[in-house]
Amino acid sequence: MSFFLETLLGGLMSGMLYSLVALGFVLIYKASGVFNFAQGAMVLFAALSMARFSEWIPEWLGMDNLFVANVLAFVVSIVVMFAVAWLVERLVLRHLVNQEAATLLMATLGIAYFLDGVGQAIFGSDIYKIDVGMPKEPVMVLESVFDGGILINKEDFVAAFISAMLVLALTIFFQKTATGRALRAVADDHQAAQSIGIPLDRIWVIVWCVAGITALVAGVIWGSKLGAQFSLSTVALRALPVVILGGLTSVPGAILGGLIIGVGEKLSEVYLGHYVGGGIEIWFAYMLALVFLLFRPQGLFGEKIIDRV
């Protein structure tokens, strides 16, 4: 029983991290109708920026305070991600207003490859450390209830908590602020939003900036766990089944989808993996999402699209 609970908790905490990346997809899709394939590349770019600036800034300023270095690196990385957002709008999206969704998707695919390449060219392709003081050693809980207790990974726990806070902040931003409502209006219909005076270009910059910050937080958390390196861009692939499951337009869907995928893949690997040779968690997540789609094609919380003929 304790092992089952450990696996379940591990899955929930992993799922929360997937939600964080999935949120980047949802934000941009909600606000611009663009499925941003570059979200993983943005996570990598942001993580590399954070890791390298936290290394370079102490050298430039001749100081050795890790906390100050991390704060400054985080601020600089926000600026970097804002610059990326501005450039994306200026050089790519502005020229593709009212184009087919497939065109926009392909454009983000191009952005993904560009960011992957240019990120490594500027910041390097080694593994870089992000040390924000995340606890690494595990902790045992409920030792009096279960023999040997339940192992909790403190780092995953802290990461899941930070993710939950960010998700909450974004939900409030989308539901309660004027800008948030404008973002949702743009997503519904570009032309209609423009006709009532919503500045499309500014809104797109804002939403890519918000997605950039989400990518930065995800990059710092994942980078702290795995090191800032190329594989972080593949983390986005883990978030794809989450958005398939949760629905592309729903923030709560991203959260619940993340949790279901996280738990599903861990339980499947542990309890079913050995029957088929193991290593099933990645494709199992997709299978799980596809099974859900059989019953709810729009995802758990996605909006049902009805076209009247």
């Binding site: 092992f3 050089l91 490594q120 193991g278 290593g279």
Partner: protein, 444 residues
């Protein structure tokens, strides 16, 4: 629009500049061309780049020493990103350049599998020092593959020998549990046959835990390890998978001193960011470890890096993977020398002649010392039938700051390895309708 035009112009200028910088030198008859299949980008770049730097640096050093009987080494790098399709594409693009490739080193077991059938057709030796197909040690079947100084079966064999010694003998392995955490790829699957053989012999329980590429998600794997409590974990990872495994071991409380990596899971990029969390973690050293004090390392620093002609960062020179690249390069350069002794000093060596050189490598300690490898590696002697040439390894352990050797030398047990090599190579020969080379063939 101005910005667009500027970007287009800048891109064209950049492409032109990079073409000018990477243009190969004009081919001269006595030059030897080596394609460098490297990966400096992508998920495996942190491990691929130091290997490529050492590999290229040794060719530069050879040229700085005056070449091989005056003949210079030339090379061209091609980025594979550790992808088999891109590796094959690189091979096809480069194999005919500059008078033809002398040999190729793919640094990927997947690419090696793909090139194994191409090599006999193109007559280009495929050198796979410490990787590739283990049965390719049998030169009578795999005439063009050279897994010099180490195969995965030999590595796995040495690991089992080491833990048997720690436990007090092979008989003490009965009932023990060993988990193999492996990269779910041809590379990671390579040791399984040998470990299963050893498990049958000694009665230990072997559990197999595959990790999907690139290996960043291992939580479920380590939860299973926590549940099963194996006595030892063997790690067959590459790139980010290695440090993720060590971090997960830390997060689940599995003792790092019970973990043993293959030689591709025991370098600085695998542990440096884990710091104290990796303290006590062990890995196999394919003869060499980190060798900052080796004579050849000092020579590289003096003749190349001090003059700004080195490849990659200076701090990396002498680290584990840099040394692996350096040694891989040295072995091919010395094979050129051996071939030239037979086919004409200073002359261009073809792929076929290079094979002869590789099958007659005889690097005794005196020669190795003269090349600057004293204390780094043991003698290598290949033959037509034995394409490995040396089966020695030792264990090194991370102390939180650096790798230290923590065991004596071990030699792969021929009594276990040879039957497996012969039978598996035999099956391959049968399947591909290959006629084993005879002693007469070996003289050619």
């Amino acid at each position: 629009m101005k910005l667009h035009k500027l970007l287009v112009a800048a891109s064209i200028a950049a492409i032109g500049l990079s073409a000018a910088l990477t243009a190969p030198a004009a081919y001269a008859a006595e030059e030897q061309f080596f394609p460098v299949l490297a990966y400096r980008t992508g998920a495996y770049a942190p491990n691929g780049a130091p290997w490529a730097n050492g590999f290229v640096d040794y060719m530069k050093l050879t040229n700085a020493r005056g070449g091989v009987n005056g003949g210079k080494m030339i090379w061209e790098e091609c980025e594979t990103a550790y992808a088999t399709d891109r590796g094959v594409e690189c091979y096809e693009r480069l194999k005919g350049k500059h008078g033809g490739a002398t040999a190729v080193q793919p640094l990927s077991t997947g690419i090696t599998f793909a090139l194994t059938e191409k090599a006999p057709v193109d007559k280009i030796p495929v050198i796979t020092a410490g990787y590739g197909r283990s049965e390719s040690q049998d030169g009578s079947v795999f005439g063009w593959n050279f897994p010099l100084i180490g195969t995965y079966w030999m590595g796995a064999d040495v690991l089992v020998q080491h833990i048997a010694k720690k436990e007090g003998g092979f008989d003490k392995l009965k009932g023990k549990k060993i988990a193999l955490v492996y990269h779910d790829s041809p590379y990671g699957k390579e040791p399984i046959a040998l470990l299963q053989e050893r498990a049958k012999m000694h009665g230990f329980e072997l559990s197999l835990l595959p990790v999907a590429h690139p290996g960043v998600e291992q939580k479920a794997t380590w939860l299973q390890i926590r549940q099963n409590k194996p006595d030892y974990v063997f790690l067959w990872g590459w790139g980010v998978m290695n440090q993720t495994a060590i971090k997960e071991a830390q997060a689940t409380g599995y003792p790092r001193d019970k973990m043993y990596g293959i030689w591709w899971s025991g370098a600085e990029p695998d542990v440096k960011d884990v710091g104290d969390g990796a303290k006590g973690y062990n890995a196999l050293a394919m003869q060499h470890g980190a060798e900052p004090n080796a004579k050849v390392v000092k020579e590289v620093l003096e003749k190349l890096h001090a003059k700004g002609q080195g490849t990659g960062p200076k701090e990396e020179v002498g680290q584990v993977l840099y040394m692996r690249g350096l040694i891989s390069s040295m072995l091919q350069v010395e094979a050129v020398r051996v071939a030239q002794d037979r086919y004409g000093k200073g002359k261009h060596i073809t792929g076929e002649q290079m094979r002869w050189g590789l099958e007659h490598l005889d690097l005794d300690q005196k020669k190795l010392d003269a090349l600057g490898f004293a204390g780094v590696m043991r003698p290598v002697k290949t033959s037509c039938l034995d394409h490995m040439g040396s089966a020695w390894a030792r264990i090194h352990t991370w102390d939180g700051k650096k790798w230290n050797f923590t065991s004596d030398w071990y030699q792969g047990d021929e009594k276990v390895l040879r039957p497996l090599v012969i039978s598996t190579a035999g099956k391959y020969a049968e399947e591909k309708k290959i006629v084993r080379r005879t002693a007469e063939d070996c003289k050619k």
